[in-house]
C-alpha cells in the first residue's frame, strides 16, 4: 500500500514517457513491417511491371509460360476466387448452423465438447488437410470423373479449413448478443427458432460477416493444401471437375527454381494476392464501422 500511495502521490512522468515511446516504437515496427513487405513485393516485381507496358499484359497474355515470356495471371486470379468463393458458399451455412447449435440448441455439456472439437479442427496444420485430400479425396473424385485433382477437391478441402473460423466467430458473435434481447423475445412468447431468426441472427450479423471475411482471407491465401489437390493447371476452370491453379499455389510451385523474369513474375503474383487480401480487409473494416 505504501508503495502504491507513493507512486500515485508522485507520479513518475519519466516512466510514462518511456512507456509511451516504447509502445509507439512497437506499433511503428508492426506497421512498417506491412509496408516493408509491400515495398519489397513492388521492388521485386518492378523490373517486369515496367518493362512491358501496359501492365494489362498480365491478364491479356496468351498463357502462363514464364520460360517463353507469357505471363497471364487471369486464370489464377479466377482460380483463387472460385476456390475461395466456393469454400465460403459451403462453409457459411454449415458454420452458422454449427454456431447456432452450440449456442442455443445443444445440451451445455455436449455444446462444450463440440466447441472444443471445432477448435481442434482449427488447429490442424494445413498440410495435413492437403495430404488427406491428395490420398483420399482426389482418388474418390477421380472415380466420379478423372483426373480427380480439381476445383471441387480444392473447394472441399478449403471448406474444412475455414469452417472452424466461421463457426467460432459466429459463436462468439451470438454469445455477445445481449441477454435482454433474448429474454425479451421469450417474454413475447416467440419460439426458439423465431427468436434465433428474428433476434439473435440480426443482432450478431456484424460479427458473423466479419468472421466470414476473416475466413475468406484464409481461403485466398491458403497454399499447401490447395496446391496438393487442385491439379495446378493454369486455365479458367470450366466446371467443378476441372483442375485449376491459385495465385498462392503458383508461387509455392515455381519459386524454388525460378530465375530472373520468371522470379519477378512470381512476385507479381504475390503482389496481386496481397492486393486481393487488402481489398478483403478494407471491406471488413467498412462493414465493422457501418
Amino acid at each position: 500500500m505504501i508503495w502504491l500511495r507513493h507512486s500515485i502521490s508522485s507520479p513518475s512522468a519519466s516512466a510514462d514517457t518511456l512507456m509511451l515511446w516504447l509502445l509507439r516504437a512497437a506499433a511503428g515496427v508492426a506497421a512498417s513491417l506491412v509496408l516493408l513487405i509491400l515495398f519489397f513485393l513492388v521492388a521485386e516485381s518492378w523490373p517486369l511491371l515496367m518493362r512491358d507496358l501496359p501492365i494489362t499484359h498480365f491478364v491479356t497474355d496468351s498463357s502462363w509460360h514464364p520460360d517463353e515470356g507469357a505471363y497471364n495471371l487471369a486464370p489464377m486470379l479466377s482460380g483463387t476466387l472460385y476456390a475461395a468463393g466456393g469454400a465460403l458458399l459451403l462453409a457459411m451455412p454449415l458454420g452458422i448452423a454449427s454456431a447456432l447449435f452450440i449456442t442455443y440448441y445443444a445440451p451445455p455439456r455436449g455444446a462444450d465438447a463440440y466447441r472444443r472439437l471445432v477448435e481442434l479442427l482449427a488447429g490442424i496444420p494445413s498440410v495435413v488437410y492437403g495430404f488427406w485430400g491428395l490420398t483420399t479425396l482426389v482418388p474418390l473424385i477421380n472415380q466420379l470423373q478423372p483426373p480427380g485433382s480439381s476445383l471441387l477437391a480444392g473447394i472441399l478441402v478449403l471448406t474444412l479449413m475455414v469452417l472452424p473460423t466461421i463457426t467460432l466467430t459466429a459463436h462468439a458473435a451470438l454469445v455477445a448478443v445481449p441477454g435482454d434481447y433474448l429474454r425479451g423475445a421469450f417474454a413475447l412468447g416467440m419460439s426458439r427458432w423465431a427468436m434465433v431468426r428474428g433476434v439473435a441472427l440480426p443482432a450478431a450479423r456484424m460479427g458473423i460477416v466479419a468472421g466470414a471475411i476473416l475466413a475468406a482471407g484464409r481461403a485466398v491465401g491458403e497454399t499447401m493444401a490447395v496446391l496438393m489437390v487442385t491439379g495446378n493447371v493454369v486455365q479458367h476452370a470450366g466446371g467443378l471437375f476441372d483442375p485449376e491453379r491459385t495465385l498462392a499455389a503458383n508461387i509455392a510451385l515455381e519459386m524454388p527454381y525460378a530465375v530472373s523474369d520468371h522470379r519477378a513474375a512470381l512476385f507479381v503474383s504475390g503482389l496481386t494476392l496481397m492486393l486481393l487480401v487488402m481489398l478483403l480487409w478494407s471491406a471488413a473494416a467498412r462493414m465493422g464501422r457501418g
Binding site: D67, E68, T135, V138, P243, P256
Partner: protein, 272 residues
C-alpha cells in the same frame, strides 16, 4: 537492471567465443545451375565445417551463367547441369552426380512399354486414351511438372517439345507429390527423378517405372550412362583445378557427400 547487465555480459561472451583466430578465410565462389545449387550448398556447408577457415559462396542463375562466370573469372567453379557443348571444350567438367528421370505409371496399369513417340503423343494430348497404346479403355491423366523445374527441362529436351506444347491434367511440384498423384490415380502417367521413384516403389507404393528404349529405369543404369533420360551434374573450371578448388571438387566427388546427393534424389558418382 542486474538482469540486463548479466544478459549483456552473456551476449558479449558469445561474441568473444567466435573463432577470431583465422583472420582472412579462404573464399570460393560457385555459380550456375539452379538444379545443383541446393546440393552444392549442402556440400559447401559440410566442406566448411571440415576445413576451418574456408567460405564457399553458392549462387544460382542457370548453367549458362555458370559457364560465363568461370570464363570471366567471376566464379572459381561453375555449376552446369548438362554435358558440355563442343564450343565449351575449353573448360573442364567434373561430374559430382547424375540426375535421371523416369516415366511412372500406376502399378495396376497393364501398359509395360511406351516409345518416345507414344510418350510425346500422350503429353501433347494427341493420345488421350490408354487403349491407343495397348492399355484398357480409360482416359489418360497427364501429370506434368511445374515450370522451371529441372526435371521438366530434361524431359522436354528428350522429347523435343516446348513447355507450351504439353497438355497436362495435373501439375505437380516436387517428386513426392508426383509419386502420390500417380499412386492415387490408376490412369495417370508422370515422370520423376529415378532415385525417388525407385525408393518409393520398393516401399510398396503402387507405381512402376517404365523402361525407355529398352533400358530399365534404374539408378544403376543412370550411373553407367545407358539410360537416356539422364544428365551429369558438373562442376566446371577454366583450368586444371588446384589448391582449394581442387580440394572442394575432390570432396564433392567423394563418398563423404553421398548422403547429401541422395537426399536430393541424384545419383552419386563415387564408386562403392
Amino acid at each position: 537492471m542486474k538482469f540486463a547487465v548479466a544478459a549483456a555480459l552473456v551476449f558479449a561472451a558469445g561474441f568473444a567465443w567466435l573463432p577470431a583466430g583465422e583472420a582472412a578465410p579462404q573464399k570460393l565462389v560457385l555459380s550456375g545451375a539452379s538444379t545443383m545449387a541446393p546440393v552444392a550448398g549442402e556440400i559447401a556447408r559440410r566442406f566448411e565445417s571440415r576445413y576451418r577457415g574456408t567460405r564457399i559462396d553458392v549462387q544460382s542463375g542457370g548453367s549458362s551463367r555458370g559457364i560465363n562466370d568461370v570464363r570471366n573469372g567471376l566464379a572459381a567453379i561453375g555449376m552446369v547441369s548438362r554435358v558440355l557443348k563442343p564450343q565449351e571444350k575449353d573448360l573442364q567438367a567434373h561430374a559430382i552426380a547424375w540426375d535421371g528421370v523416369g516415366v511412372i505409371l500406376h502399378a495396376s496399369n497393364p501398359v509395360a512399354v511406351l516409345s518416345r513417340q507414344q510418350i510425346s503423343g500422350i503429353y501433347t494430348g494427341k493420345i488421350a486414351n490408354w487403349k491407343d497404346v495397348g492399355g484398357t479403355d480409360s482416359p489418360i491423366t497427364v501429370v506434368n511438372k511445374a515450370e522451371g523445374r529441372s526435371t521438366l527441362e530434361l524431359f522436354l529436351r528428350y522429347l523435343g517439345l516446348k513447355a507450351s506444347d504439353i497438355r497436362p491434367h495435373v501439375i505437380i511440384g516436387d517428386n513426392s507429390q508426383g509419386i502420390k498423384t500417380v499412386a492415387g490415380n490408376s490412369n495417370a502417367i508422370g515422370y520423376v527423378s529415378i532415385g525417388a521413384a525407385e525408393y518409393e516403389a520398393k516401399h510398396r507404393v503402387p507405381i512402376k517405372l517404365l523402361p525407355l528404349e529398352g533400358v530399365a529405369a534404374t539408378v544403376a543404369n543412370v550411373r553407367n550412362g545407358t539410360f537416356l533420360l539422364s544428365r551429369p551434374l558438373n562442376l566446371v573450371t577454366g583450368t586444371a583445378p588446384k589448391g582449394l578448388v581442387r580440394e572442394f571438387i575432390e570432396f564433392a566427388r567423394s563418398e563423404h557427400v553421398d548422403d547429401l546427393v541422395e537426399a536430393q534424389y541424384f545419383v552419386p558418382v563415387s564408386i562403392r
